[in-house]
Amino acid sequence: MIGKILLSGVLISFLSLFVRKKFNYFRWILFSIYTLLTLFFVYIWKNDFYFSENYKILSLYGLNFSLNFKITPLGWLFSFFTTLLTFLISIFSIQKNQEEESEKIISFFWFYLIISNIGIFFASDFLTLFVFWELMTFSSYFVISPGWMKSFRAVNYYFVLSTIGAFFMLLGIGFLYAGTKEFSIETGYLYLFTLFSKNPLLAVLITLTFILGFFTKSALIPFHIWPAQAHAEAPDDFSAFLSGIMIKYGLFGNLLFLVPLFLLIKEYPATQIITNKIPLFSHILAWVGAITSVVATFLAIESNDMKKLAAYSTVANIGYATTAMFTLSSYGIAGGIFQIVTHAIFKTAIFLSLAAVKYRTHEREMHKLGGLAYKMPVTFLTFLLGIIAAAGIPPLNGYASKWMIYQSLLAYRFPFLTVMIFLSSTGAFMYLFRALHSIFLGQLPEKFDDIKEVPILMQIPMYILMGLMLLTGVYPGIVLKPINSVLQFYNLQPLKLTYTTMFSTLSSVDSLKVFLTFAGSFAFAFILYLLGKPRKHVQPLDNYTAGQDPKEFGLTRELYHFALKFYEPFEHMFDSYRTDTKEFYDSFERKVNEIGKFLKETLSGNIRNSVYIFIFGLVIIILYGWLVW
């Protein structure tokens, strides 16, 4: 069935090429239908765990090239939520892409992303995983930059980093194949575990190649700069996909390969250094996650571009999840996975609302926006709930997952990691509030006076996302129950929980009660509001100017909107600690280019130069002969 779904995706993608530009909504409806179909099938597979599907394709040159799929609890969880969110994004896209240029290329390659999505999550061997991984990288290149010069530079960051990562992963796969003579993932980490005692250097090398492969994809330090480029410049609806779904592939890889490996080492610590009851390797990676989250938070605070801000926020959240999962406790892993799911939901909501803002205003710089709350109420509400979730305020879903992460870090004694996560989490308030203020509150610029809410087709997914955020926040058991089966898959102790209550070793929380408390206080405040004195509606501008017309002073409304350089004093505090990673990559690129230019110029210089090079080459050959004589 999996194979049939993938194959039908390929067919439908070619079918969609024949839709005329005039009827392009039909192309996107086709896209939505395919996603819905995939979602349906993924849903009915929920009872078919460990069902496997093998396609023996070829047996060539002593190698078996086959596509093997297996429905594991982990893969199912990831694929269900990602497909669900893709479906919501695809509804949004129908309207959004009506007037988009090069939407044909976008939709065509997006089909392959859905295909590789299913392929990656259900892959049961490395070869299948790698094939879909590369398919995903190649096709996302043309979705991020479908012939746009503006996103060309951004996509190159993404592409080069991803390809290098993927090739390193292939190197690791090759080493494992040399040891096991098969591509199975499970045999792979079992073999690697034994290799740690036989040949530690090689084992560390192999582990590093996989870490490189997965960490480049999920943008952990020092690869944290590509999301800010690629997410910001990609088509707006695709940014939601990129940030909500695609960045999770790296984390999925970690959960698929590295976490089981470290769990084995944790259980049988024969030769490995164990710190704080987890392997040193894993501890370092947890720290990498924590540092990433802090750095990304500061970068998000500094950005003025709303999509860049959201992208850095994504990186910070990836950091939390990485830290949690590499602490290797059942609470940590569950918290990490839960964070991944909740982040996927609320980040999709945030990016869709930003896409809606951009759809109407065509602006990305936050200081050029403002006061859109009254004009676009649904978008505003989606964004509001999204950032409440992202900041981890109850009763929305971000709270539940962050609670799990804090509990696991504290219970297993990682106080410094907790501090880092807490720091980054507090920083999240700063940039999220700033975004809310700059985009939706404050003064509405005059040019946006007759802006309207986005069409109903774009509103529907936002309503659903709001509902999802509340639902998974109030009933975390919906997500945590499947996560429990993932924990069983790792042979870990499942969590103790009901649909609304989460227990940890330290404490427990009933999120329904939390929700009711919040709802009660809101209701109380609302009653007070109703009981109060009769009020008059005052324009936001009148609030600022005490009723005077600013034009009399030669001022405009925009000048009252304080959004540019919002945190300047705060930013100056960190001036001396700033390292520009982007500049590092840029300068690396320049150096490579310069070497290339030098070589090219030397090689295509005049004939005299060529003769010199030739003589040089000959001399080297003669010298070599002389030396070995």
Binding site: L58, L60, Y61, G62, L63, E101, S102, I105, V131, Y141, F142, S145, P146, G147, W148, M149, F152, V155, N156, F159, V160, T163, I164, F167, L170, L171, G174, F175, Y177, A178, L202, L205, V592, N593, I595, G596, K597, L599, K600, T602, L603, S604, G605, N606, I607, N609, S610, V611, I613, F614, F616, G617, L618, I620, I621, I622, Y624, G625, V628, W629
Partner: protein, 506 residues
């Protein structure tokens, strides 16, 4: 088996080369017709010989009834005939493209092309070292003249560079041949191969380095790759196709023949050398370095032809790298990548030429909006790129994958080289994706492009190459069969010697 008519592969092109000059005096069209007919003859006769070899094993053609090791002989193995067939195909495409163009010197050029045909047929079939030298000389001279056809500064410069390097290379080859003749008293490849171990320790180094130095220029290996830059960008399109898909492969054949069948000691799965120094260290270093240098040079180039030229040099170095691993799997992977390169590089040159048609500057910006202007050739270009970089199911996918598996079999020097090569493959991916990306960029300044004139021959040859690529991709077992036969043939040193020396005894 003994089959003397196989000499016709060389004789007919040489004869028609003169005929085309003579008939060209009366009508230029006649010489073009002679060219096409000769190529078709060689192609068909090649297919016939292919079947013959598949059935009966290696062919030996004896000239003047002097049986080897005396006299001149041709010795055609499965490897040479299958490579020859692919090369004939490329030559056919290239000559078709030449034929439809109007040129005042058509008779001379077609005579030259026929000479070229004769020379590389000779190189691939000959069983005699000195004959090989002669054919290499003819081949180089034909190449030099073809490069300089355009007549502008760049092409003159390119051809002069090529002249310098090949003449010195040829003299090194001659030195090596002289040494061998002086020591062993024979020029027959099979005889040399049989007795190579008897040569003294020091002479072996000499001979090895002489031949290595002579062949490196043709192989576009750093530091002898400086002629690529000008000769690719300065020459005509059909010459580009010949240079990238054909010349380099001919050089590759010489390398394989000399360094594996003749000097090497191919055992069951590995090649070793009875040499005092470690060839397994020397060759991968040179070729790995060469991959990187060529990729970097391609990255920084702006001229599309130059990019493709450097890129073909780097693919050639990658092939050589996998050969120099000395493993059987390495040769298999080299063959697979080789098939992809032979088929995809001409396709890339051909389609990029059509995409850039009508634009004066041939740099990467002339690819802008290429898809709108010329969707057919853009798709061909994309197919070519994917074939070259190793998209799943294309031959080069299996080739690169095998190379990876080979390199990671155990951590060794080759692994290190491969890791470095990975970076250059990333660079390759980067600049090819940059070109594809440009195809989709809508042009900002409104050029008044006319829709590119449909050129029947270009479409036909592009389709032909694409279909063959698709055939090789969807018939993997067929490809595997061919590739394994080629590899077995390359490794079959004793078979080569036997088929050459024994068949004279009947």
């Amino acid at each position: 088996m003994n089959y003397n008519p196989s000499v016709l592969l060389i004789a007919i092109p040489v004869l028609s080369s003169f005929l085309s000059l003579i008939f060209g005096i009366y009508n230029k069209l006649l010489s073009k017709i002679i060219l096409v007919i000769t190529v078709l003859f060689n192609l068909i006769f090649g297919v016939f010989l292919y079947n013959l070899i598949s059935k009966n094993g290696n062919i030996l053609a004896v000239i003047g009834n002097y049986f080897p090791p005396f006299g001149i002989n041709l010795s055609i193995t499965y490897f040479s005939i299958s490579l020859l067939l692919l090369l004939y195909l490329i030559f056919f495409v290239s000559s078709l493209i030449f034929v439809v163009k109007k040129d005042e010197r058509a008779d001379k050029i077609s005579s030259l092309l026929l000479l070229y045909l004769a020379s590389f047929s000779g190189i691939l079939t000959t069983g005699d070292l000195f004959n090989m030298f002669v054919f290499i000389e003819i081949f180089s001279i034909a190449n030099i003249t073809l490069i300089s056809l355009k007549g502008n500064g760049l092409s003159t410069k390119g051809s002069l560079k090529y002249l310098i390097i090949t003449s010195i290379g040829a003299s090194l080859f001659l030195f090596g041949t002289g040494f061998l003749y002086g020591i062993l008293g024979t020029l027959n490849l099979a005889e040399i191969s049989l007795n190579f171990d008897k040569i003294s320790y020091f002479s072996k180094i000499f001979i090895f380095l002489f031949f290595l130095g002579s062949i490196m220029a043709e192989l576009e290996v750093f530091p002898f790759n400086f002629w690529i830059s000008d000769s690719y960008s300065g020459s005509k399109n059909f010459v580009n196709i010949l240079l990238s898909g054909l010349s380099s492969m001919v050089a590759l054949y010489i390398f394989v023949r000399l360094f594996i069948t003749i000097f090497g000691l191919p055992a069951f799965t590995t090649i070793s050398y009875s040499l005092p120094f470690n060839v397994k260290f020397l060759l991968p270093t040179i070729f790995g370095l060469s991959v990187i240098v060529n990729e970097l040079a391609a990255l920084s180039s702006k001229n599309v032809k130059r990019i493709l030229g450097f890129s073909s040099a780097s693919s050639l170095s990658l092939i050589l790298l996998s050969i120099s691993t000395g493993q059987k799997d390495g040769i298999i992977s080299a063959t697979l990548i080789g098939i992809s390169v032979i088929l995809s590089k001409p396709l890339l040159f051909l389609s990029s030429h059509q995409i850039m048609k009508g634009i004066k500057e041939k740099n990467i910006d002339s690819f802008v909006n290429g898809f709108q202007r010329n969707p057919f050739f853009s798709i061909l270009f994309i197919i070519g790129v994917f074939t070259l970089i190793g998209f799943p199911l294309t031959p080069s996918f299996y080739g690169k994958f095998l190379l990876f598996i080979l390199a990671t079999e155990k951590a060794s020097y080759i692994t290190l080289i491969t890791i470095v090569v990975i970076f250059s493959i990333t660079i390759e991916l980067f600049y090819y994706f940059r070109l594809i990306h440009k195809l989709f960029v809508p042009s900002e300044t409104k050029f008044n492009f006319e829709k590119t004139k449909k050129n029947f021959v270009y479409i036909l040859s592009g389709l032909l190459l694409t279909l063959i690529i698709i055939f090789f991709s969807i018939k993997p077992y067929f490809t595997q069969n061919i590739v394994e036969k080629i590899t077995d043939d390359v490794f079959d040193k004793s078979g080569y010697i036997k088929s050459c020396l024994k068949s004279g005894e009947k």
